[in-house]
């Protein structure tokens, strides 16, 4: 696998696994509107993953987009660990979405400037969708944070629990540095300042307390994951693995 293929797989896997997680809300949402909203967001992310996997497949020339999604094992996935954590209650899902939506927005804004034309075009497209997602998740953070005592306590706890998964957004390993140098990739470190600012703006409106940066989960860039990824893959990959080449 070439460097650029691996680099694209990181963002492709992040959108794919988060999409799979969100799709679990379909038919189980707290209200019809939210059921539809979360399913819509899941679908947008799946589309983004599809565009990226098609591009990796084209660069690779041998592996199809479906094979990337369905034939790899845990250690060959490079999605952020935050995508794997269980949906929990609605507030848990909203906090996870809010924290990653801001990241996506800032990341895609930078990726838009990539000298790789396909990546730049996909980033522009995704950015439009992510702006909608962020408006949705921010509004809910404010509603729940500035809601009843119970909703406030619950979402503050969600925020405190999920915070440790946000460190991965801003890591720079050798591959990130190389891609940045070649003007293909993004400088993740510099996203942190704007991410902090945008997170704070909403948390203030939501009357929530920003957790301290403490221990941060890490490893996804090397294919190291939480135990939840295996369970997601077993569901996502079951059919194509049990019935190879099955067609609708």
């Amino acid at each position: 696998m070439t460097d650029i293929e691996k680099y694209i797989l990181r963002i492709a896997d992040t959108t794919l696994i988060l999409s799979q997680r969100l799709s679990e809300w379909c038919s189980k949402g707290p209200s019809l509107e939210e059921d539809i909203a979360l399913s819509n967001i899941s679908l947008d992310l799946l589309g983004q993953a599809n565009g990226l996997l098609e591009y990796v497949s084209k660069l690779n020339g041998e592996i199809s987009p479906d094979e990337y999604a369905f034939k790899r094992d845990e250690r060959e996935f490079y999605n952020f660990q935050i995508c794997e954590i269980e949906n929990g209650h609605f507030g848990d899902t909203i906090i996870r979405q809010f924290l990653i939506d801001i990241y996506f927005k800032l990341y895609y804004q930078e990726l838009e400037k990539s000298k790789d034309e396909t990546l730049s075009a996909l980033a522009t497209k995704s950015l439009k969708e992510v702006s909608y997602h962020l408006r949705h998740s921010s509004n809910w953070v404010i509603r729940l944070g500035d809601g009843t005592q119970e909703s406030k306590d619950k979402i503050q706890k969600s925020l405190n629990n999920i915070w440790k998964y946000t460190g991965e957004f801003f890591e720079m390993d050798e591959l990130d540095k190389k891609m940045l140098k070649e003007k293909i990739g993004v400088n993740n470190k510099t996203l942190k300042k704007d991410w902090d600012k945008l997170v704070d703006e909403t948390l203030i409106k939501a009357k929530l307390k920003r957790p301290e940066d403490g221990y941060m989960m890490t490893g996804s860039r090397k294919g190291i994951h939480t135990e939840m990824l295996g369970k997601i893959l077993s569901e996502m990959q079951y059919l194509p693995r049990a019935y190879p080449d099955a067609k609708w």
Binding site: I36, L43, D44, G47, L122, K125, S126, K128, E129
Partner: protein
């Protein structure tokens, strides 16, 4: 001769309806970006509305079917991402078709497609398809879909 054929292809594409909103065609939706003859093959450039819109696959199949019915077999459909699809590409005429169909078209100052009132309220940012959000009219009390501006 060849230009005539390209015009004919545009005409056929103009008869392929959007799978979700059948009152407008895929050309009016703005997803057909170009039709070109390259080495004896007609290349139809298509751009997706939303990345994950399931209708994209459906209308590609519909396009293929219609072209084949019209005896045009030497074509391929190419997906292009740049420039990204925008509702700005819809003409005023297309927007009016949406309104008559009961969908508030993509405009900054949305109004109720039934009674034209501006007194409307957002119910949900997301609707039955990725491209629409849900509103309610506070005058006639009818709920309606609004085509998002993107």
């Amino acid at each position: 001769m060849q230009n005539g054929k390209i015009d004919k292809i545009w005409q056929i594409l103009g008869s392929v309806p959007d799978p979700e909103i059948p009152v407008i065609s895929v050309v009016e939706l703005g997803v057909i970006r170009d039709v070109q003859l390259i080495k004896n093959e007609y290349v139809i450039s298509v751009t997706p509305t939303y990345s994950g819109c399931p209708a994209v696959k459906t209308f590609q199949d519909d396009i293929k079917e219609q072209l084949k019915i019209n005896n045009i077999n030497n074509f391929k459909i190419e997906i292009v991402y740049k420039p990204a699809w925008t509702t700005d590409w819809m003409t005023q005429e297309t927007k009016e078709k949406l309104r008559d169909y009961g969908i508030s078209p993509p405009e900054k100052n949305a109004s109720c497609p039934q009674c034209k009132s501006k007194e409307i309220e957002l119910i949900s940012e997301f609707g039955a398809t990725a491209c629409k959000s849900m509103y309610k009219c506070n005058d006639c009390l009818e709920p309606f879909e609004h085509f998002k501006c993107i």
